[in-house]
């Protein structure tokens, strides 16, 4: 397995370089260093001198990829791409174009994002798996049909509706929880109850249908018939045997999501005032802050690669037939 992990890690290097290069090219196809400077300098009294000074002090006065004025290796290193993007490969995120430490910001924002995403994922998965198994248990009955229709209905509703309706009902009409906000320690719980419930409810439709499909397929297999022939109850067959054998596709869907939990949820965090990473990248794109965009794209790529690797490794834990 170690050899497999090393091989995959080596594969990741050209992928990450490629992602970095593509991010750089795409960003600077749309934006110029002048645009970035204008965005950072604000709305009033922005002079060409101020733009040039800003570019010089922030390293945006260099050529993009190749420096004709420099000699030797400097012609490559004294460029915008090298100075801004290559260091990221060593996880040196540096400072944002607005002057803040990106690593510090990411570390500060990652906690609240995880505080929201982890319980939402765990509770959501438990609920969806349970509902999926129950629908299989009640297969071909009115409950099954009703459940599927309900799932389709839940899937058809916009996530924004769940949020606004949830805030209105639980926060405003019933006054049960704060409408938005965040705090540390135990106080965090009262701010997370509603978004977690909304996250879970919002995911029931698609999640339950997905798991129902997986479990129905498993339920038709021979070992289930054998178990029933041996007299095991349906619930036991479903919640012990079918669940365990259905874990491979579940893991495929879930483990790959784990690293992305760090990246946060844009809508949930902005509506509930959770100071996570969800809006970090979008705000950076809106503010044309290339330093943050490249750091977040790189981090996202790394996490995704790690997620895929974890998925592969997790297969071996649940299915001894799989060897890496």
């Amino acid at each position: 397995m170690l050899a497999y992990i090393i091989r995959r890690a080596l594969y990741a290097i050209p992928v990450l370089i490629g992602v970095n290069l593509i991010t750089f090219l795409l960003f600077f196809v749309v934006n110029t260093p002048d645009d970035i400077a204008r965005m950072q300098l604000g709305f009033k009294r922005v002079t060409p001198e101020a733009i040039e000074t800003w570019k010089a002090t922030h390293g945006y006065d260099l050529p993009y990829i190749y420096n004709e004025q420099a000699d030797g290796l400097d012609s490559v290193t004294e460029t915008l791409f090298f100075q801004k993007s290559v260091k990221v490969l060593a996880f040196e995120f540096g400072r944002s174009d607005a002057g803040r430490s990106i690593s510090s910001d990411i570390l500060e924002r990652m906690g609240p994002s995880l505080a929201l995403a982890v319980p939402t994922l765990i509770v959501g998965m438990l609920v969806n798996v349970t509902f999926g198994l129950l629908l299989v248990f009640f297969r071909s009955t009115a409950i099954d049909w009703g459940g599927v229709v309900l799932c389709v209905l839940l899937m058809s509703i916009s996530p924004l509706f769940y949020i606004i309706a949830g805030q209105y009902v639980a926060g405003k009409l019933m006054n049960l929880v704060p409408i938005s906000g965040f705090d540390g320690g135990w106080d965090m719980a009262k701010f997370l109850v509603l978004p977690v419930i909304i996250g879970v409810v919002g995911g029931i439709g698609s999640g339950t249908r997905w798991y129902r499909t997986i479990f129905l397929e498993e339920y038709g297999k021979d070992y289930v018939r054998t178990a029933r022939a041996k007299g095991l109850s349906d619930l036991r067959i479903l919640f012990v045997h079918v669940l365990k054998n259905g874990m491979i596709p579940i893991l495929t869907g879930v483990v790959v999501l784990l690293p992305l939990l760090f990246m946060g949820s844009l809508i949930m965090e902005s509506f509930f005032g959770i100071p996570g990473l969800g809006s970090y990248t979008i705000e950076a794109i809106n503010n044309q802050d290339f330093a943050i965009v490249r750091a977040m794209v790189f981090l996202g790529s790394v996490l995704y690669i790690v997620g895929l690797l974890l998925t592969d490794i997790s297969y071996t834990l649940f299915d001894p037939r799989i060897r890496l």
């Binding site: 300098l41 805030q167 009262k190």
Partner: protein, 725 residues
């Protein structure tokens, strides 16, 4: 037995919940311990980018910088028109005029004969900075936190986390240091360009700093104390002078802005340490001042907290105001020591719906009114006056509206071949378009009435503005039955024909004249506005092409003079002087040629001559007469379709006192007073938990589960029956 335990648990949980309810509303987003405190609650949408006084220029940053920093002057809180009074200075300084040989000249010397104006500012002794580690000293007098390493920073996320805090007296040198910072390339102040044209030697100082900076090793910063210049000099610990070229009376207004606030050199040295920068601790994030408040928490993604500065020097609430202030209760606290509020918490709210609902629940003390909430909060009566709706009135809220000292307009590029030029063709085309664009319908449609139609560039409340017939733009309006009425569209069509475009047809092509409008706004709501704008041009038979783009691209196009008509641009006053608005159309400020703020690139010799005359005059009938002549020229030449002056609406809860809206004072926090006990009572009253829907939901859930249970039991206990496949 287990069922009994479950029941006990349920009862215990309900008791805990009920106890919690007795302690206060469940939906309170703030710690319970703060519920009765005199804490001011507000919000911010976009995190402030800069809190460094030499950089900060955005309105939303001013609510922080205005509370923390103290420039030498400030505006009187209650008086209108806005009046300058001393803040840390002993008096509002009068300039001493000098000739070219530095000989004193009398105060009534004509501006043309004045070579230099010297403003000498005396600082009141005994003013001390907020507690801060930059002032902490070792027993030998050296700075305690001069060489911080990463290990020293363990557990430190803000200056208040340092064990040792210090303070010192405000010195004149701190003001001079800040003026030098305006020239520093490392700071890149937005007003350097403007100030270098006025403050003696500031441009040369920049050149010296550029040279010195080129010799620095990577990571090193300039030590500005090593650079002296003639424009700002320390005379003694409590006195300094600023020298400006010629006459520049507007400098006094600048002295009320944070750009001229004191920044001690030891503070900049402290913040230059890499260990602090890596933790986002800098002058941009944790400002240091002598003002009524200090920033103790700065999490720009969540919350910013101001706390009363324990070293604040004892300012008092004003004892006089304008007519009506006493009746409005605004003088009830006259003479009392400021500030009243000991702590202010600003929470980030990115979305308007949760923000508005929390305001209604009493969790914010003051609110603007978003478009979504306007109908819920405001009724417009038959006379067009805004009133609170019954729901808001029942909650004891008060509404204050004020016209802000700013303008939003549609501009024409005077360098453009079609809409530009000062000849008859361009001028009449612009006049025709100015008549056709019906701002009287734009304001209610897109601003909920929050604006008044502009008749010229000077907003109400500033010297030079005139109401009624005297202030009407006769090119676009007629005075009918005591009010200004927009000229009929036929007048615009006639002007268009005289401009050479009869019925909007371009004689060169035989087609409708095509005009392009550039705008920095995108999004669905703006598309509607642009559709409306097309209709206005349609009235003249003109074809409008909308070129929406990002703000930087828009700015770039403006800078290159690569626009025909532009919309979505405006100007908010830096100071309450007509010069600040009239300068936006001063020829030497043209953007394309001189990189100034005159986006329209308007240049009229007569106007420019009058501007130079008006700029150096004191307010009075003579200045008013010149301004009227300038306005006549502007209205005739129509470089802008004058657009509107924005009107700000603010809602205040009943427990907040001394609220008076204003457009110039950067932060009014120190004047506000609130009744924390009343707020706590109202919050409890408005936010009682409603539990019956929970019980109903539980019952519904049980009802839904019953068929499932029934099927399950049937299956498990009826094994011989046929099972569905």
């Amino acid at each position: 037995m287990s069922r009994l335990n479950g029941l006990r648990l349920l009862v215990a949980a309900l008791v805990v919940l009920a106890t919690g309810a007795c302690n206060g509303p469940w939906n309170n987003p703030y710690p319970d311990a703060d519920r009765d405190g005199d804490i001011y609650y507000s919000s911010f949408r976009e995190p402030p980018r800069h809190l460094d006084p030499a950089r900060s220029y955005a309105t939303d940053e001013a609510s922080f910088t205005g509370a923390i920093y103290e420039p030498p002057l400030q505006y009187h809180y209650l008086k209108r028109p806005y009046t300058l009074i001393p803040a840390t200075a002993t008096a509002v300084p009068e300039p001493q005029y000098l000739d070219a040989e530095d000989n004193p000249l009398p105060a009534d010397t004509p501006a043309a004969e004045v070579a230099t104006s010297v403003y000498t500012i005396d600082i009141r002794p005994g003013i001390r900075y907020q507690p801060h580690p930059a002032f902490a000293k070792n027993p030998d007098g050296s700075p305690r936190y001069a060489e911080l390493s990463a290990t020293d920073m363990v557990g430190i996320s803000r200056p208040a986390d340092f064990e040792h805090q210090g303070t010192r007296e405000l010195r004149a040198g701190d003001y001079v240091h800040e003026i030098k910072r305006l020239a520093s390339p490392e700071v890149n102040s937005p007003i350097f360009g403007l100030m270098s044209a006025h403050i003696v030697g500031l441009a040369e100082l920049r050149e010296r700093l550029d040279t010195a900076r080129a010799k620095l090793a990577p990571g090193e910063s300039l030590d500005l104390t090593a650079f002296d210049f003639d424009g700002a000099r320390v005379i003694d610990d409590h006195r300094y002078e600023i020298r400006v070229q010629g006459v520049y009376p507007q400098l006094r207004y600048w002295l009320a802005l944070a750009f001229f606030a004191p920044v001690p050199p030891e503070v900049t040295r402290f913040y230059d340490q890499p260990a602090l920068k890596s933790r986002n601790i800098s002058l941009d994030t944790f400002p240091v001042g002598t003002g009524a408040y200090m920033l103790t928490e700065n999490n720009p993604n969540q919350r910013m907290v101001l706390e009363a500065n324990p070293n604040f020097h004892g300012q008092r609430y004003p004892s006089e105001g304008e007519a009506g202030d006493r009746a409005a209760g605004l003088l009830a606290d006259a003479g009392k020591e400021l500030p009243f509020i000991k702590r202010a918490v600003y929470s980030r709210e990115q979305e308007s719906i949760p923000y508005w609902n929390k305001f209604l629940q009493g969790y914010y003390d003051v609110s603007g009114i978003s478009d979504d909430a306007f109908g819920q909060a405001i009724n417009i009566d038959a006379e067009g006056n805004p009133n609170l709706t019954a729901t808001m009135a029942e909650r004891g809220m008060s509404l204050a509206t004020t016209v802000l000292p700013g303008i939003f307009y549609l501009g024409f590029n005077l360098n453009d071949d079609v809409v530009g030029g000062l000849d008859d063709s361009g001028r009449k085309l612009r006049q025709a378009i100015s008549i056709a664009i019906d701002m009287e319908s734009y304001i209610p449609l897109f601003l909920n009435g929050r604006g008044i139609v502009a008749q010229g560039p000077i907003p109400p409340g500033l010297f030079g503005y005139q109401d009624g017939k005297a202030g009407m733009n006769p090119v676009v309006y007629d005075w009918v039955d005591g009010e200004a009425v927009r000229k009929p569209i036929d007048t615009a069509r006639r002007l268009l024909a005289e401009a050479g475009y009869p019925n909007g047809i371009d004689p060169n092509t035989g087609q409708s004249l095509l005009v392009n409008i550039d705008t920095p706004a995108t999004g669905p709501e703006f598309k509607t506005q642009m559709d409306w704008m097309r209709q206005q041009f349609d009235k003249l038979g003109l074809q409008l092409v909308v070129r929406a783009t990002t703000w930087p691209r828009f700015q770039k196009k403006i800078a290159e003079g690569n626009v025909q008509i532009y919309f979505g641009s405006g100007w908010m006053a830096d100071y309450p002087d007509p010069e600040n608005f009239l300068s936006q159309l001063y020829g030497p400020n043209g953007t394309a040629e001189h990189a100034g703020s005159n986006y329209a690139n308007y240049a009229n010799d007569e106007y420019d001559r009058l501007f130079r005359q008006m700029r150096v005059m004191e307010n009075g009938p003579e200045r008013q007469a010149i301004i009227e002549r300038m306005l006549t020229i502007l209205r005739r030449d129509a470089p802008w379709q004058w657009g509107y002056f924005p009107r700000q609406y603010a809602l205040y809860h009943q427990w907040l006192h001394n609220t008076k809206p204003n457009g110039m004072i950067q932060s009014s926090l120190k004047y506000l007073r609130l009744d924390g006990a009343l707020r706590a009572e109202k919050r409890r009253e408005w936010n009682n938990p409603v539990l019956w829907p929970l019980a109903a939901g539980l019952a519904l859930l049980i009802a839904l589960l019953l068929p499932g249970v029934w099927i399950y039991r049937r299956r498990e206990h009826g094994a011989l029956r046929r099972r569905p496949r």
